[in-house]
């Protein structure tokens, strides 16, 4: 149990996917201007990634590895993620319209969110077992969500401040993200 707890802490804080592993930055800058969109995106990523992590793990361990097809990893993972996203979209639209109206617009963006593909690849590279894969597939996007929501709060404040013209928008956003990343670096000392 302790191992899984350690893994979860490391995924959320120490190796935060956005601020320490640099994955998923496009949506990070894109949807963090408002708190609402930030929470929506975070939920959608968690939802898709738990499914994608489990499926790609099974794919890798039961099909790619036994048949020595590991070179097809990139191709098959992206196809799994893309079809999974379309499937989830259809499913939500038909059966849970309330959730769909909240998450719908974020789902297509997830296919090209490198955090999703990235975590699936990390799961395989670190040779996690199935449970560890589930833990990391849940806690990595949770860390993503945490950073995203905190950062959206920051950005709402930045809107009120007077920023020099050339620094406006994305530029100041990146500098702000740098400061947050500095704060998260402190977690590295917890070895």
């Amino acid at each position: 149990m302790g191992d899984y707890f350690l893994l979860a802490i490391s995924c959320i804080f120490v190796n935060n996917i956005l601020l320490a592993q640099y994955l998923g930055n496009c949506p990070f800058l894109g949807v963090s201007k408002k708190m609402e969109t930030a929470t929506g995106m975070a939920t959608a990523v968690i939802f898709v990634l738990v499914l994608a992590g489990a499926i790609t793990w099974a794919l890798s361990h039961y099909i790619l590895k036994p048949f020595d097809l590991e070179y097809l990893q990139t191709l098959s993972f992206i196809l799994v993620i893309a079809s999974l996203v379309s499937f989830v979209e259809l499913f939500l639209k038909k059966s849970i319209p309330a959730l769909y109206s909240g998450l719908g617009i974020f789902l297509p963006l997830i296919t090209t969110n490198c955090a999703v593909m990235g975590v699936c690849l990390i799961n395989i590279k670190e040779e996690y077992n199935f449970l560890e894969t589930l833990v990391s597939s849940f806690t990595y996007p949770a860390g993503f969500g945490l950073a995203l929501v905190l950062y959206a709060g920051l950005r709402e404040r930045i809107l009120l401040a007077r920023v020099p013209k050339p620094l406006q928008d994305t530029a100041i956003g990146l500098v702000g993200a740098g400061m947050m990343s500095l704060a998260f670096m402190a977690f590295k000392g917890m070895a």
Partner: protein, 194 residues
């Protein structure tokens, strides 16, 4: 309906062509990739623990089956005798798995040294398992008859300060390798003689 079938066919054809192209490239580069991986990932650690051997351990390698897995075993020749073997195991560290290359002296049944191949430990803390030779030197000449432990747990290994998780992970990996060595010793001896 015919449209759907047509679309489906096109995507299938795309996937098939892509699969075929990849298989071709894979076949052309496969052998080179294996050699490159051994040279760059395991080479440096191997060179360190088998320093002074008169052969190239990467050329003198053989595979030994262990359950479902195949283990790559590298041989080192010292004083004209093939008396040292090395293979890789992994231990759990703080930032993920640590790849540990462990060498055994067959004649004396003791550890001939360990080297770290791959890791993702914190620089300056756990990463010193790879950068500080004095930590790894403690494993040289250790008997395989009792498990290796860090000092607080009643063993003889001084843990890296500030990196207890990493040090324990390395010890656990070494203990695994000792078990594997005991299990496969007969097979290994057969391969060396043959």
């Amino acid at each position: 309906m015919r449209d759907v079938i047509k679309l489906f066919l096109i995507v299938t054809i795309f996937s098939a062509v892509s699969g075929w192209a990849l298989a071709t490239v894979r076949n052309l580069t496969g052998e080179r990739i294996e050699i490159q991986q051994l040279t760059y990932v395991k080479g440096p650690a191997l060179k360190e623990i088998l320093a002074g051997s008169s052969n190239d351990p990467i050329t003198d390698r053989f595979k030994v089956p262990d359950g479902k897995k195949q283990i790559d075993v590298f041989t080192g020749v010292f004083e004209g005798k093939k008396n040292t073997v090395a293979f890789e195991v992994s231990g759990k560290g703080y930032g993920g798995n640590i790849g540990i290359m462990v060498a055994f002296n067959i004649e004396k049944d003791e550890l001939a040294g360990i080297g770290v191949t791959t890791h993702s430990e914190t620089p300056g803390l756990g990463a010193r398992a790879k950068t500080e030779p004095s930590f790894r030197a403690q494993f040289k000449g250790v008997s395989i008859n009792k498990p290796v432990k860090v000092r607080p747990e009643g063993g003889d290994i001084d843990a890296l300060s500030g990196a207890t998780v990493t040090s324990k992970g390395v010890c656990a990996g070494v203990n695994d390798s000792i078990e594997i060595y005991k299990r496969l010793k007969i097979e290994i001896l057969k391969n060396i003689k043959g």
